[in-house]
Amino acid sequence: MESRKKVLWKLFFSTLYLSAFTFGGGYVIITLMKKRFVDGYRWIEEEEMLDLVAIAQSAPGPIAVNGSIVVGYKLCGMLGAAVAILGTVLPPFLIITLVSFFYQAFRDNWVVSQLLEGMQAGVGAVIASVVYDMAAKVVRGKEASSIAILLAAFAATCFFGVSAVYVVLACILIGLIQTMIKKRRAGK
């Protein structure tokens, strides 16, 4: 095994690189992490990586950040986690700082403002398409409680202005109660 210092540097540059060049969200970056750390460096076993990915996906927060924490922690403990987080956070931080610096000037430009306005409809379409796929998956599951949660949560946020935090808390509560009921039934 390489020296700890070398591993930490490699970890930093790997997460920095992946974070700077991965478009398309957390699920993509997780796949690339697996490629680099399991298939490339052979630092982590395939099986174990699957568990780490599962944890990164089930915890709250950005999946890219969660993924870098589990990988860093597994390799070098707390220090590894800190190094991996730094590598992941730095690129978007620098890029968006630069963008927001120019944003006001750009926004006042007629060409840019027309482009951005048109892109609003584009973003709306992208979100609509994503929601369509996700909702179709829920409906196809044919689980009455899931469909009920879907409808109730939509009505609550869209028509009654309920804060997303309360919807998340309610879902967590429902999930816990359902698990308890299932366990009790299985026990009898």
Binding site: G61, P62, V65, Y73, P92, V123, A153
Partner: protein, 190 residues
């Protein structure tokens, strides 16, 4: 104290966004637009557009964008810290529990119930973005004030996304170019 407000707001965004990707959207909208008014709905939509075209998670991009706007570079740093703090604690705890018990019945149950809720909230965020695009923001949706050009662009993009394999970024850029072309052809009246 603006730094504390930024920290607490993004702490909540980090703590309550499950599922990655667009799941953080409704929470960011809640905190940043509705609760604190740091961004208007148009700026919020611009932020999502920018996030789509740059690398990095939406929540982190939002933290830097909002932090910079409200309180400069230190604000961006504080907001980013707030955003990742819950992850640091929760991921480590789950990893430890996971290694000990190897079973995650309760967590699986919670995630199963969260999934449809998250889908619904993303849908609601999408609705408010479309309201802004079609009716220019907070005005109530009345048929006369509809920007039919934008509705058309939306429909076209949706079709392209469903029927072709074009990347979302390309479709978005196309939407912008179509709008720009139409506005330029209309004598810059837009």
């Amino acid at each position: 104290m603006i730094y504390l407000q930024l920290l607490l707001s993004f702490l909540q965004i980090g703590l309550f966004s499950f599922g990655g990707g667009y799941a953080a959207l409704p929470l960011i909208q809640d905190q940043v637009v509705t609760l604190h008014g740091w961004l208007g709905m148009t700026e919020f939509t611009d932020l999502i557009t920018i996030s789509q075209m740059t690398p990095g998670p939406i929540a982190l991009n939002a933290a830097t964008f909002v932090g910079t706007k409200v309180a400069g570079l230190p604000g961006a740093a504080v907001a980013t810290l707030g955003c990742i703090l819950p992850s640091c604690v929760i991921v480590t705890v789950i990893a430890k529990l996971y290694l000990r018990y190897r079973s995650m019945d309760a967590l699986q149950g919670v995630l199963a119930a969260l999934r449809p809720g998250v889908v619904a909230m993303i849908a609601a965020a999408g609705v408010s973005i479309l309201l802004t695009a079609f009716w220019g923001g907070d005005a109530l949706a009345d048929l006369a004030g509809t920007d039919w050009g934008m509705v058309l662009i939306f429909g076209l993009c949706f079709l392209l996304l469903r029927r072709t394999k074009l990347s979302p970024i390309l479709v978005m850029v196309l939407a912008g170019v179509v709008k720009l072309g139409a506005a330029a052809a209309g004598g810059g009246a837009g």
